[in-house]
């Protein structure tokens, strides 16, 4: 797992994806920070974090798009799958590499907190709560993106499909409101990423939501492993 993790990390930087991802993330979060926090004259960061949901949604597919699809296209998966490593090591090595880059990106909020420290008192509980909420959200989204990447050989298709999938997950709330059947509506709301995330930004640290995000991450990584396994039996 370590070897794959290190290779993916260096590949992110060699291919330039890391720079694009970090630059866009820093720029957009900076805009939200300026607009939602500095201009509003507050040290309350929740507004910034709730706006960041949509950035995360669109940027994570860029991070995950080529993780699996490129391997298949260039036949490098033959090297991985015939090496003495398990499928979980392959998938998790890639998963944690993407997650690490995401953590680097979102840790920019600690720089914002230094700026806020000059201007007033920081509410650390909301800031940290939000930080971890975003971490859990990213953990789930990356697993979804990685899974979709394993389904195709084309990285653009992978990126677009991942964005679409994440966007549909985002729309679950508004879709649920249109459903008349009470049970389905309840099911859809409970699967909503957005409302669970917003709950965090409002200062509610809900353990079931943490479990929800982590189990989503686990399930999609598991599905990715199944895809790799199934390809052998095809």
């Amino acid at each position: 797992m370590g070897a794959i993790y290190r290779r993916e990390m260096s590949a992110f930087f060699i291919s330039g994806i890391a720079y694009v991802f970090l630059a866009v993330f820093f720029l957009l979060s900076g805009i939200f920070f300026y607009n939602g926090v500095i201009s509003a004259g507050t040290t309350e960061t929740s507004a910034m974090f709730s706006s960041m949901f949509i950035i995360v949604l669109f940027l994570i597919p860029i991070l995950t798009m080529k993780l699996m699809s490129e391997e298949k296209k260039n036949r490098t998966d033959q090297g991985l799958l015939t090496a003495p490593v398990g499928l979980w090591s392959i998938v998790l090595g890639k998963y944690f590499a993407a997650l690490t880059l995401f953590i680097i990106a979102e840790s920019v909020v600690f720089i914002y907190s230094i700026i806020l420290g000059y201007l007033g008192n920081i509410v650390w509980s909301t800031l940290l709560g939000n930080y971890f909420a975003m971490l859990f959200l990213g953990a789930a989204f990356i697993a979804v993106g990685l899974f979709i990447s394993s389904l195709t050989e084309n990285q653009m298709a992978s990126a677009v499909a991942s964005m679409l999938a994440l966007f549909v997950l985002y729309l679950f709330d508004s879709l649920a409101a249109r459903v008349s059947n009470e049970h389905i509506q309840k099911l859809m709301t409970s699967l909503s990423f957005y409302s669970r995330y917003i709950e965090f930004t409002q200062g509610v640290f809900n353990l079931s939501s943490v479990l929800f995000f982590l189990s989503t991450a686990f399930i999609f990584n598991f599905l990715t492993v199944r895809v790799l396994d199934k390809r052998r039996w095809g």
Binding site: R7, R75, Q78, G79, L80, R232, G234
Partner: protein
């Protein structure tokens, strides 16, 4: 070392590999020979655990590849048809990655240096793989397979894209490795297999068509005794040709006679085919002695590996009664192999050209 039992792979209705069994011992080099699409790569992918078999068993060092894939895979070095290279990495970074991936315990620096020296890629270690030539990429692929000194090496068409010098280098490297490793190598190039391998498996349409050493295959498959004779008749004219051919045909056991080109002035070659039970050489000798003809040459031409390959892969009726050869003497590529005293002899030659040039010589001689 490697044992394969009744290996079968189906893709839907298509039977890619059907009931292949073989065994390779340590220090042996096994050659997989077959036309494109015969199932060579599929078999190799199953041996290395890249794809699974529909049924059958593969034992690497006694470990079943499906039961304990990680242990089995740690014994294998694999060079797939397309080397699994990350184009944006340098050779050094890539080999270092493979070193980690294979959990190699050998001293990193020294081992990578050895591998690079062996594959002659030391000069390009700092370069990005994308910018390397095809030959270098192939050798980086081979180097990757050699990392961690796996006892089993599986090489899928290892010399594709190399120039003739490099091919010879790689072949001698494989031969060297074959002494201490178990090697399986696939190719559709006959000379390659013959030059390198101890044992050969000819595979066609997913089934083993023949296996054994080159000699064994030739012996088992040959069911006709064929020879080429050069007989000097009494009159040195074309009339000789017919007379001699008819006389040989009348000999008991001769199935087929064909008068070939005029090799020397007024002297013809005859391709003679007899059934396998009778040795007709003495009868022919006696015939010629009686008639006053001189046998200038007698050469047994058992089926060459090339003949066998064509025969197996192009359908069974080819050349059985000589029809193909008569209709189309070019049906056979010009590289000829023959088994002589247990050694394979290769010669590049074109019968027609040879004959034409000897004719020219004769004419020149006449003019002088």
């Amino acid at each position: 070392m490697i044992e394969v039992k009744h290996l079968t792979k189906r893709y839907g209705d298509k039977q890619a590999v059907n009931d292949i069994s073989f065994k390779v011992e340590k220090g042996e080099i096994l050659g997989f020979l077959g036309p494109n699409g015969a199932g060579k790569s599929t078999t190799m992918n199953m041996l290395t655990g890249y794809i699974s078999s529909t049924s059958g068993q593969i034992l690497i060092n006694g470990v079943d590849i499906l039961e304990d894939p990680i242990k089995a895979k740690s014994n294998i070095g694999y060079l797939p048809e397309i080397p699994p290279l990350y184009m944006d990495m340098t050779v050094d970074a890539y080999l270092s990655f493979m070193f980690d991936l294979k959990k190699c315990k050998l001293p990193r620096k020294a081992h990578l240096k050895d591998v690079c020296d062996l594959c002659k890629i030391s000069a390009v270690r700092g370069r990005v793989i994308r910018n390397l030539s095809k030959g270098y990429k192939q050798r980086v692929g081979l180097a990757q397979a050699l990392i961690n000194n796996p006892p089993v090496l599986i090489l899928d068409e290892p010399t594709v894209g190399l120039d003739p010098n490099q091919i010879i280098e790689i072949r001698s490297l494989i031969k060297k490795l074959g002494k201490s490793h178990t090697v399986i190598l696939s190719s559709h190039i006959l000379p390659e297999i013959q030059a390198v391998c101890d044992k050969i498996i000819i595979i066609n349409k997913g089934v083993v068509a023949a296996d054994g050493t080159a000699d064994e295959i030739a012996r088992n498959i040959t069911n006709e005794h064929k020879m080429t004779l050069r007989i000097e008749g009494s009159t040195h004219t074309a009339a000789d040709k017919k007379e001699i051919a008819d006389a040989i045909k009348a000999i008991d056991g001769v199935k087929y006679v064909r008068a070939d080109m005029e090799r020397e002035k007024g002297i013809y070659d005859y391709d003679v085919e007899a059934d396998e039970k009778t040795d007709v050489r003495r009868a022919i000798n006696k015939l010629c002695a009686d008639k006053g003809w001189n046998i200038l040459m007698l050469q047994l031409s058992d089926l060459t590996l090339e003949d066998i390959f064509l025969k197996i892969t192009m359908g069974d009726n080819v050349r059985k009664d000589g029809t193909v050869r008569e209709e189309d003497p070019k049906a056979k590529p010009n590289i000829n192999f023959s088994v002589k005293d247990g050694e394979l002899v290769a010669s590049v030659g074109d019968d027609q050209e040879e004959a034409a040039s000897s004719d020219d010589n004769d004419k020149n001689g006449g003019e002088e």
